[in-house]
Amino acid sequence: MKPKILWYFGRETGYGLWRNGWMTLASVSTVAISLFVLAFFIVLSVNLNHVAGVLESEVEVRVFIHQHVPRTSEIRLMNEAKHWPDIRHITFFTKTQAARQLQSEFPDQKDLLQLIDQSNPLFDGYDVYTRQATQIPQVANHFRSKKIVESVVYEGLVAKRIDRVTEVVRAVGWGIEALLALATLSIISNTIRLAVFARRREIGVMKLVGATDWFIRWPFVMEGMVLGLVGAVAADVLVNYGYRWAIGAAVSAMPFWPVAPLSMVLDHTIWVTIATGLVIGALGSLVAVRRFLRV
């Protein structure tokens, strides 16, 4: 594109936004609010994922080993398992350690403790942590296939439920995002339509002296994209300050609740809101200009 043409488009875009000052302000605010709601949902979704991630990391598989297996075989299997791709962390415990843990967890169960003291019926074993909850069943099966393994215990249902909730939240999220995108599209489209309507004479003259459709469209498309971009930036500023405040409030109210850090939230919201703003701004303008080009 020639610099002269680019200059022309830039100038026309600026004129358009300036001439319709109040309308520009109104639509930027509306876009900002819609994109803020969009961002709010993203924040929610990021936080749910974060919580799911934290919970998943706490889900463990407990592997018990047959009695009388030599210690070297136990250590060999642990070292082998460390290299399995699904395993994040694995620790070995002896049956003596298991007995001590039981004693500390249930200090009031006198009969039980007596039994353990007389002859320890517990097993040596591993505490295993997977990278994701979904990997737990296959890791469990993998251990079961080993000869020295007596049994494997894990919270399979909890893992599945967390994943299911995350999936539902994501699906609902996409639905809400789509609806919001439609609403924003119609707001931008209406703003640009007013701008186009105010300049329909010019557009008519442009068409009649031989301007191409794209030459006429570009300044309006750029106008829409500027509206979308400014709205998105405003929404991100709101998210930035709003989320800082929310983290502060959440940490003091529920200190144990895992809150996603601001940088993690902004990583998601900035790109989604800016991309959505630009795409919707451009689309809205195209829809608005279409009717006026039929000269």
Binding site: K2, K4, I5, Y8, R201, E202, G204, V205, M206, K207, L208, V209, G210, A211, T212, D213, F215, I216, V295
Partner: protein, 228 residues
């Protein structure tokens, strides 16, 4: 060359504006389209710059087949034409010079060409000294001349004018007519729909008379009409 073959134009409300029109206009000609109000003159003019399409029949301008061409080709056709509208269609927020330059900007002319061509055209139509004025500060005749300047600025092969002297006093109308004759002398083909009986009779050019949508007379060196 402009060629209309068996052209009918019927509007959505059923009004038959043109019927069975055949017409050939060669390059370099000066043609008046005359006839009473509602006879179909403006419809004919609008077919030429493809604001309207015929209901049946074909319109050709040089290599362009207007009834068959793609929408994307229309700008190329219109860059061959300069159109002076009955209502002038000036842009009120732009100065005289900007109104003319606008027509060059939108077809992608360079700044250098615009800076050279705009003053020359304003000189030709006698508006050089009004270049910074705005349309509402101009008289009717000056506005019409500005419309002509805009139509001329891209060096059109065909200059098409719809009632360009419609609202002007006889002296101003005479001036505008002389301007069109000068433009024609410089090589442009001029097609003008008009009511101005005296002017048509004075200049003795080709006259195509339309009544009720049909061509009733086509004379070289013609007059406005015998009937009136």
């Amino acid at each position: 060359m402009i060629r209309l073959e068996h052209v009918d134009k019927r509007y959505g409300n059923g009004h038959m504006a043109l019927s069975g029109v055949d017409l050939v206009i060669r390059r370099g000609e000066f043609v008046f389209i005359v006839g009473p109000s509602g006879s179909g003159k403006s419809s004919l003019i609008r077919l030429l710059y493809r604001e309207e399409l015929p209901t049946t029949g074909d319109v050709y301008i040089d290599q362009f087949h207007l009834t068959r061409m793609r929408r994307s080709q229309v700008p190329r056709l219109r860059r061959q034409l300069g159109v002076v509208f009955q209502d002038v269609k000036l842009l009120p927020q732009r100065s005289v010079a900007q109104n003319v330059a606008f027509a060059m900007e939108v077809v992608g002319a360079s700044s250098r060409d615009i800076a050279k061509r705009v003053p020359a055209v304003l000189e030709l139509v006698g508006l050089a000294r009004r270049r910074e004025s705005f349309p509402h500060q101009l008289s009717g005749g000056e506005q019409q001349r500005l419309g002509i300047a805009r139509a001329l600025v891209n060096n059109p092969v065909y200059l098409i004018a719809d009632e360009p002297t419609g609202n002007l006093d006889p002296d101003t109308a005479g001036e505008i007519m002389r301007l069109f004759l000068e433009i024609n002398r410089r090589g442009a083909t001029v097609i003008m729909a008009t009511h101005a009986r005296d002017l048509v009779n004075q200049v003795q050019r080709r006259v195509v008379a339309i009544e009720q949508g049909r061509i009733v007379r086509d004379e070289l060196k013609g007059a406005y009409g015998h009937e009136a």
